[in-house]
Symmetry: C2
Subunit: 452 residues, 2 copies
C-alpha cells in the first residue's frame, strides 16, 4: 500500500513492524478466530506515536485494531485485512502512584498484576484481577471492562477508573474524568470508553482508583458437593445471608477432573462440584458462616485454611482451571451472567445443553456475581467449533437471556458474540450506539465490525 | 400557543396544568435562579404520559424541562420560557423489589428515603443518601448522579444503577443496562444517562442495586477541633490509615455557630470545627482508630456513641446544618471536590476567599470524598448573589481546579456552573459532548442550555 512509507516516516525508527512472521504474532487473541492479514503493526511507545498513527489512519482511511497483550477471549483484538494493529504493549509506564489520594496513573501496556504489586508497596491494591492478570494489560482490561475474582467485593474495571487520556480517531487528545473520587461535571465519558473495545478511541493513560489492601490474610474455604445444583444452592444461600466474600468461585466436575488428571488433586468419585470462597480479615465471621451454609446445602467435605500457604493451595486449584481445560482440546470460552438467584437454574441449563448436543462443557463461575464461564471443548484439529458446539452455545446464550441475564459478563462482545447481540439489545439501542460511534469515529476506522 | 390543546387532548385528563400559580410552583429548584415562564406543567403518571409529551414536544419543537422534587442546587430543573415542565413526581411505583437478587426497579418519583425504607424491610438498603433524601426523588438523584453521606463507603448513584428505562426526545423507549451485577454488552449507556441532568432523555424507571444493610448499629464519633485545618489534617490521617468510615463529615465554625444559635448545642468558644465519623459494625476497630487519630491531630474533645440514641444525637447535629444556615440569609450552596489529600489546602483557600471578599462562608464537607459544600451567605433581600459573593465563589472554583479537583462533586452543573465549565473541560470534551447530545436530542428540546 502506498501510504505505508508515510507512516514509517512519521514515526520514530523501529515502531512499524512489517515482517509477516511478526505481524502474524500480533494478529490473534486467545480465541480460535482466524485473523485477517494486517498491513503492519505499530508498536507504540508514547502517546505521540498513537496520535501520529491515528492521524495517518484517518488521512488514509486505514482501519486500526488496538491491542494490549492479546489475552482477549472474544476476538476484540483480532486483526482485520489491511489494518494497522496498534499495539500498546510497550507503553508500560506507571506515570504516578499517589498513596495519599489512593490513585495511580498507568499507561495501557502496564501488566495488571504489576500495577497491583506496585500499589501493594504502599499498603494499597489495584482490585480488578481477571484470571489473566499476570499477563493481561490495563489497556485490555479497560477495553473490555474486565472483571475477575475479587470483583464480587471490589467491583469491575469501570468501578476503579476515574479518568482517561484518549486519542480519538482523528488524532485529537481527549481527557475524561478526574482525579477525585466524586465528580459530575459533564457526561460520563470515562465510563463510555471503558468496555467500548477500542471502537471509540485509543486509551493512552488511565487514572485508576486504588484500594486499601486488607491488613489481615484472608480465610479460604473449599467445599465439595455431590451435585452442581447443590453448589449453586449454597451460593444463593451465601448471597442471601449477606456474607461478603472477596472471592466466590464455583467449579464443576469436568473442570475438577481436568485439573485432577493433570495435577492429581485427589478428586473423589462422588464430587460433582467445588466451591472456593474467601473472606477477608474484616469479615472473619463470614468464613465460618459460608462453611456452615455449604454444609447445610449438602457439601460433603469443607476445608478451611488457617495459614497463607493453605490459602494459596486452595486458590491454586482454581488458578489451574483454564490451563487444565486447554489440555483437553480446543476451547470456546463463554461468559454469560445471570441475576444471582438464577445461578442454579443457569447451571441446570448448561448441563441440559451439554447432554442434548453431546458436548463436553466444563464450567467455572464467578458465582457471587452470577457470572459463568462454560467452556465448550472441541477437537483441536478443527479450525473452529463444530455445529453441535455452536448449537449448545446458542442454547446457553438464550437460556441466560431468558433468565434475565446477559451474553457477556466481562469478556466483551468482540467478533465472537456479535451474531447474538440482537437477542439482547433492541433496534433503539443499536441506533443509539451507532450514533455514538459516529460521534467519535465518523470514518469507522477504529476496530470496525467489533463490539456493537 | 396553538399546540397546547393537542397535548391536552393526547394526555389523560388532569395531566396538563396551566394555572399560573401552579406552574410557578414547579418553576424553581432550591437555587435563587429566576425561572422562565413555562407553557404548562405535565404531571406524568405513566411512561406513556412521558412518551406522549415528548412526541408532542418533538412535533412542535417545544423545550422540555424534566423535574423531580425540585430539590436541586444547580438550576437543572429551572423552568425556561415557553417550556413544558415535565414532572415525574407522580410516578412513584416501586415496580419490583427482589431480595434474592438485591435489586429494585423504581420509578423516578419514588422518594429516595422511601426506597431505602422499602429495602430495609428485607434487610437491605438503598445506599445513596443525598442530604435531601427524605424529599428528593430517585429521578433527580439519577439526573445529578447524587452522592450523599454514605457514599464514602458505598459509592454514588451511578454505582447503584444497573439499568434504565428511558424515553428519548422523540418518544422512543430505550432500555439500557441489565439486571445482573456485571455485564459488558455494548456501550455503557446507563452510566451516560446518570448525571446527564435531563439533557439526553427522560428516565421512567431504574433498576437499582441494593446492598445488605449492616447487621450491627454503627459507632459514631464527634470530635471538636481548635482549627479547621487541624480537622482537615485528621481527615487526611484517617484516610491514610485505611479506616473505612461509612460517614465522615466536617463542619466549620460558621456552620456550628448557626446550629448553636438555633438549637443551642453548647458550642464552646474555642471550637473551630467538628468532625463526625461513623464506623459500621463490620469495622469496629475503625471507630477507636478514628477517635485516636482525631486526638493526635489536636481534637480537644471526642464523643463516642455507645447507643443508637447517642448516634442519632451526634448525626442529628450534621442534619441541622443546611437549615441552620438558611436562617442566616440567602444561600449559594457550592460543591467543589478535590483529591482527598488536598482537603486541608482547599479549606485554607475557602477561608482566604471569605476574608478577602468579606463574605460569610459556612462549610460542610463530605470529607472522606474530598467533597466540600462551602455555603455563601448573602442578604435575603437581594434577588441574586452580590458581586463579592461571586468573586469569592470564583476564587473557590479556581482553587479547587488548581488543586486537581472539580467544580461539582454531586450537585451537577445545571445553569449555575455553566460559566465556569470552560475552566475544567476543554474544547475537545465540549465538542464530543455536543455530539452525544445531538445523537439523543437532535432538536435540542431536552433541558436546553443546561449541564454541558
Amino acid at each position: 500500500m502506498n501510504a505505508l512509507p508515510a507512516l514509517v516516516d512519521a514515526l520514530p525508527a523501529g515502531r512499524v513492524l512489517t515482517d509477516p512472521d511478526v505481524t502474524e504474532s500480533y494478529a490473534r487473541d486467545q480465541t480460535f478466530l482466524r485473523p485477517g492479514t494486517p498491513l503492519c503493526v505499530v508498536a507504540a511507545q508514547t502517546r505521540d506515536d498513537v496520535v501520529t498513527t491515528l492521524r495517518w489512519a484517518t488521512e488514509h482511511r486505514v482501519p486500526v485494531v488496538p491491542r494490549g497483550a492479546g489475552t482477549g477471549l472474544a476476538g476484540g483484538a483480532t486483526a482485520l485485512d489491511g489494518c494497522v494493529t496498534l499495539s500498546l504493549a510497550r507503553m508500560t509506564a506507571i506515570r504516578e502512584l499517589s498513596p495519599a489520594d489512593e490513585i495511580a496513573v498507568a499507561e495501557p501496556g502496564v501488566v495488571t498484576a504489576d500495577l497491583d504489586r506496585a500499589a501493594r508497596e504502599h499498603g494499597l491494591m489495584y482490585a480488578p484481577d481477571p484470571s489473566s492478570y499476570e499477563i493481561s494489560t490495563i489497556g485490555g482490561n479497560l477495553a473490555t471492562n474486565a472483571g475477575g475474582l475479587r470483583c464480587v467485593k471490589y467491583g469491575v474495571t469501570r468501578d476503579s477508573t476515574l479518568g482517561l487520556e484518549v486519542v480519538l480517531a482523528d488524532g485529537r487528545v481527549l481527557n475524561t474524568g478526574r482525579r477525585t473520587i466524586k465528580g459530575v461535571t459533564g457526561y460520563d465519558l470515562t465510563g463510555l470508553f471503558v468496555g467500548s473495545e477500542g471502537t471509540l478511541g485509543v486509551i493512552t493513560a488511565a487514572t485508576l482508583r486504588l484500594r486499601r489492601a486488607p491488613a489481615l490474610p484472608p480465610v479460604t474455604i473449599a467445599a465439595e458437593f455431590p451435585s452442581l445444583r447443590a453448589a449453586g444452592d449454597a451460593v444463593a444461600a451465601i448471597v442471601a445471608a449477606g456474607c461478603r466474600p472477596s472471592l466466590l468461585e464455583l467449579m464443576d466436575r469436568g473442570t475438577l477432573k481436568a485439573i485432577d488428571d493433570w495435577k492429581n488433586i485427589g478428586l473423589e468419585d462422588d464430587v460433582q462440584a467445588m466451591l472456593i470462597a474467601q473472606a477477608e480479615g474484616d469479615a472473619p465471621g463470614d468464613a465460618s458462616a459460608m462453611a456452615r451454609l455449604c454444609e447445610e446445602n449438602g457439601a460433603g467435605f469443607v476445608a478451611v485454611s488457617s495459614t497463607p500457604e493453605e490459602t494459596e493451595e486452595l486458590i491454586g486449584i482454581r488458578r489451574l482451571a483454564y490451563t487444565a481445560k486447554e489440555r483437553l482440546g480446543a476451547c470456546l470460552v463463554e461468559d454469560v451472567c445471570v441475576p444471582r438467584s438464577a445461578l442454579p437454574d443457569m447451571i441446570s441449563e448448561i448441563e441440559r445443553a451439554a447432554a442434548r448436543h453431546d458436548v463436553l462443557i466444563c464450567t467455572v463461575a464467578h458465582a457471587g456475581d452470577g457470572n459463568l464461564h462454560p467452556v465448550f471443548i472441541f477437537d483441536r484439529g478443527l479450525p473452529e467449533p463444530p455445529e453441535n458446539v455452536w448449537a449448545a452455545a446458542d442454547e446457553v446464550f438464550r437460556a441466560a437471556l431468558d433468565l434475565g441475564g446477559t451474553l457477556t459478563g466481562e469478556h466483551g462482545v468482540g467478533l465472537l458474540k456479535r451474531r447474538w447481540l440482537g437477542l439482547e439489545s433492541g433496534p433503539v439501542t443499536d441506533e443509539v450506539q451507532r450514533g455514538i460511534k459516529q460521534v467519535f469515529d465518523p470514518l469507522n476506522i477504529l476496530n470496525p465490525g467489533k463490539a456493537i
